[in-house]
């Protein structure tokens, strides 16, 4: 069974066996506004938990995208690079950012459940 968890940096992560799919939350896209640029990590590179693994830019500003867990980048979503507006349209499904081969599954433990994240998002944006 796959498990979806959330980070304080507003990323979601879905773990399927060893494969983790990562993107940014709907709440994040609402805060950012219209996204016009996305930069993703290179396939084959290694990323560390809480490290920068991409960039999104709205018309107003640039924001880093962090990885909530460590691992090797095994795939990136070219669709969002070609058409960044897809991130606003479908952030938690088709507009995922990158897939990792997770290094240490225990890194998932410190992340939030959906309920915890929704509460966190509400509190921090108030």
């Amino acid at each position: 069974m796959s498990e979806v968890k959330y980070s304080k940096e507003h990323e979601w992560i879905k773990l399927d066996g060893e494969e983790a799919t990562i993107g940014i939350t709907k709440h994040a896209t609402e805060m950012l506004g219209d996204i016009v640029f996305a930069e993703l990590p290179e396939k084959g590179s290694n990323v560390d938990k809480d490290g920068t693994a991409g960039v999104v830019e709205s018309t107003k500003a640039a924001s880093d995208v962090y990885t909530p867990v460590s691992g090797e980048v095994i795939d990136t979503n070219q669709m969002i690079v070609d058409d960044p507006s897809k991130i606003n349209e479908d952030p938690e499904e088709s507009a995922w950012f990158f897939k990792l081969k997770i290094k240490d599954k225990s890194e998932m433990d410190s992340l939030m459940s959906k309920e915890e994240y929704e509460k966190f998002a509400k509190e921090t944006s108030a």
Binding site: G33, D34, V36, F37, E39, V55, E57, S58, T59, K60, A61, A62, V81, S85
Partner: protein
């Protein structure tokens, strides 16, 4: 500091504005549709901008007013006809720009529209330079509303009949609900449009009637992308105390008749006219989709720093990143290859013509 609200504050809330503090005011950065939709709606229909935070300075009294104002501003005020407007500058002695502004000749003096962040300082500077001889009124009982876009004239004409006869950079008195309003045909989006100076107490109903006639409120976010596409400067980003109008590539705003005369900063300007400038404002088009924001460093092909970006964004109508900035004058020729340092990487770009977006009044024409 106490954050101020404009007379349209409640309307901003009603239409779902996301508010930010700008120049001491609570201003809408965007409404529900978001910056890109608001930008495109202005280009295709019409948009309403609350610019009431800007200063409306009325100066009157005395026969020597025009002469005395020409000692301050490099505009040809003697030639200005009543209700005609000119873009000009308040400069310091070094020729640096303290503010960029629009001067309109009124029936009894002049109206100067000032940037929000500069207006109180401008007021003091102008007052002291005029030796307190004239009546100055930075009128905060008035709101200022811009209506911009191809449908602006039709929308406004339904609410205030007759305003469509105004020519660009001209104004006139009109009547709305038995009260005097002053309308100029001007704006800062690269579109046809108007700016309406109206009593605070009438501003809300006036804007509601523009909305009823098909216009939409547009936030500061889209105002910024619109003005950048139009190649227009934002004071504090693209213009500042250390930059002259010549360096800012705004030489066209200094009439030839004034170059040999005296005004604040005239010595420096005269010198720059004769000997040229070291840095120049240019348009910049990145080759890729990477956006270079203000303060991005600019390099030549030998990796030497040659300038910096002062404004940059994604242009929703040109559908490409756009930027403007200052480069060493020897790199200011159109099509010169430059490199922008974004997140540690050197991004190739070209110097390009401004504006990025040019209106031909039949159909939008894209310049990128």
């Amino acid at each position: 500091m106490n954050i101020k609200k404009t007379s349209l504050y409640n309307l901003h809330i009603k239409y779902g504005a996301k508010l930010v503090e700008f120049a001491g005011y609570q201003m809408p950065i965007q409404y529900k549709d978001g910056i890109i939709q608001e930008h495109k709606y202005t280009r295709s229909h019409s948009g309403i901008f609350d610019v009431s935070h800007m200063g409306q300075l009325f100066i009157s009294g005395g026969d020597d007013l025009t002469n005395d104002l020409e000692k301050i501003f490099p505009a040809d005020l003697k030639k200005l006809k009543t209700n005609q407007s000119k873009y000009s500058f308040l400069m310091n002695n070094k020729g640096g720009i303290q503010d960029d502004l629009i001067i309109t000749k009124t029936s009894d003096g002049f109206l100067i529209i000032l940037n929000a962040a500069c207006k109180y300082n401008d007021y003091e500077v102008i007052k002291s330079k005029l030796d307190n001889q004239y009546k100055l009124n930075l009128d905060e009982s008035l709101s200022l509303i811009a209506l911009q876009g191809p449908e602006a004239k039709n929308v406004l004409n339904k609410v205030i009949p007759g305003c469509d006869s105004l020519k660009f950079m001209n104004g006139n008195n009109h009547v709305y609900k038995n009260e005097k309003v002053y309308i100029t045909r001007s704006g800062y989006t690269g579109e046809d449009g108007f700016e309406i100076s109206i009593k605070n107490s009438d501003a809300e109903t006036f804007v509601e009637s523009l909305i009823e006639n098909g216009s939409k409120l547009i936030g500061l976010g889209a105002r910024d992308t619109l003005r950048m596409e139009a190649g227009l400067c934002l004071y504090g980003n693209d213009l500042d105390n250390d930059t002259s109008p010549i360096e800012a590539n705004l030489k066209w705003a200094i009439p030839k008749s004034r170059i040999e005369t005296e005004f604040v900063g005239s010595e420096v300007l005269k010198n720059q006219f004769q000997s040229g400038v070291k840095k120049l404002r240019v348009g910049i088009k990145p080759d890729s989709k990477v956006i270079a924001r203000g303060n991005t460093k600019i390099y030549n092909d030998k990796n030497q720093e040659i300038g910096k970006v002062t404004s940059g964004t994604f242009g929703p109508s040109v559908e490409h990143p756009i930027a403007m900035g200052y480069v060493d004058n020897s790199y200011s020729t159109v099509n010169t290859k430059i490199f922008l340092e974004v997140r540690g990487k050197k991004i190739p770009a070209n110097i390009c013509n401004l504006p990025f977006y040019k209106k031909n009044y039949v159909k939008g024409e894209i310049n990128v």
